[in-house]
C-alpha cells in the first residue's frame, strides 16, 4: 500500500531542505508520497524544480503564511 512520509524541514536554511528531500526520496518506495514541510521561501522553488526534473509529480501547498508543504509523489 502506498504510504505517506513526512519530512520536517521547518527552520532549515537552503540547501538543507533539498538535500534531505533527495536523500529521503531515494529511500521511499515507488508509489509513496513524501510531504516536505518548509518555511524557507527558496525551497518552494528549488525542491519542486528538482522533483520535476527527476520526473516525479509535485505540488506545493501553502499551509500558513510563509509555510508550505511540498507534496512529491514517487512515480518511478
Amino acid at each position: 500500500m502506498a504510504k505517506e512520509v513526512r519530512l520536517d524541514c521547518l527552520g532549515e536554511a537552503c540547501p538543507v531542505p533539498l538535500i534531505k528531500t533527495q536523500k529521503k526520496m531515494a529511500n521511499v518506495a515507488v508509489g509513496d508520497t513524501l510531504i516536505v514541510e518548509v518555511d524557507h521561501s527558496c525551497a518552494i522553488k528549488n525542491v519542486p524544480e528538482w522533483a520535476r526534473k527527476e520526473g516525479f509529480n509535485c505540488e506545493v501547498d501553502e499551509v500558513d503564511d510563509g509555510q508550505w508543504e511540498i507534496i512529491i509523489e514517487k512515480t518511478k
Binding site: 521547518l10 527552520g11 538543507v16 538535500i19 524557507h40 522553488k45 501553502e62 500558513d64 503564511d65 510563509g66
Partner: protein, 176 residues
C-alpha cells in the same frame, strides 16, 4: 479575497519569478547604479562602514587604519546619514520585507539548533573578512568585477567556487 485571485497579483507578487527574469532586472539595476553613483553595485563595503561607525561610537579609532585613508576615510568622517550605500542596503532589506508582505508570506523564522548559531557566526566572520581583502562579495567582486572586465573578477570566480566546494563538504559534515 478578490485581489488574491487576480492573475496579475499571482504573477507579479505571489508566484516566484523566473531566475532569468531576476537576472536581467538585476543586471539593468546594476548598470543604473553604476551610471548614477559612478561605481557598480556593491554590498559589503557598506558593512565595513557600519562596523567602523559602531567602533567609533564605542571609542575606537578606525580612522587611523590604512583602509580608512582616502575615500573610505572621507565617508567615515561624513557620517552614516550622508552615505548612499547605507540607504541602498537598507532598501534591499525593506524591499525584501515588502515583497514577502505583499505575497502574504512573511514570518519570523526562528533558529532551530546550536549548529545554525555556529554556522551563522563562523560563516559571517569568514565572509566579512574575506570580502574586505578581495574587494567585495559575490556582487562587488564577482558580478560587478567580471562585468567590469577586470582580471580579478575571473580569479575571484575560480576561488569562490573552490571555497563553495570546501564549504559544501563542511556543511554536510558538521552543520546539517
Amino acid at each position: 479575497m478578490q485581489i488574491k485571485d487576480s492573475p496579475y497579483y499571482k504573477s507579479f507578487l505571489k508566484n516566484p519569478w523566473s531566475y532569468v527574469a531576476g537576472a536581467v532586472i538585476l543586471a539593468i539595476l546594476n548598470t543604473a547604479i553604476f551610471t548614477i553613483t559612478g561605481s557598480p553595485w556593491g554590498v559589503t563595503s557598506t558593512f565595513a562602514m557600519w562596523g567602523a561607525w559602531m567602533f567609533k561610537a564605542l571609542g575606537g579609532h578606525p580612522e587611523t587604519w590604512v583602509y580608512f585613508q582616502g575615500k573610505s576615510g572621507e565617508t567615515l568622517a561624513k557620517g552614516i546619514a550622508a552615505h548612499t550605500g547605507t540607504f541602498m542596503n537598507l532598501g534591499i532589506i525593506v524591499g525584501a520585507l515588502l515583497a514577502s508582505l505583499l505575497a502574504s508570506e512573511f514570518r519570523i523564522k526562528k533558529i532551530k539548533n546550536m549548529k545554525q548559531v555556529a554556522a551563522a557566526i563562523i560563516g559571517g566572520l569568514l565572509m566579512g573578512y574575506g570580502a574586505r581583502i578581495s574587494f567585495g562579495c559575490n556582487i562587488g567582486a564577482l558580478f560587478s568585477g567580471i562585468a567590469s572586465m577586470s582580471l580579478h573578477g575571473w580569479q575571484y570566480l575560480i576561488f569562490i567556487f573552490l571555497g563553495a566546494w570546501a564549504g559544501s563538504k563542511m556543511l554536510v559534515k558538521f552543520f546539517m
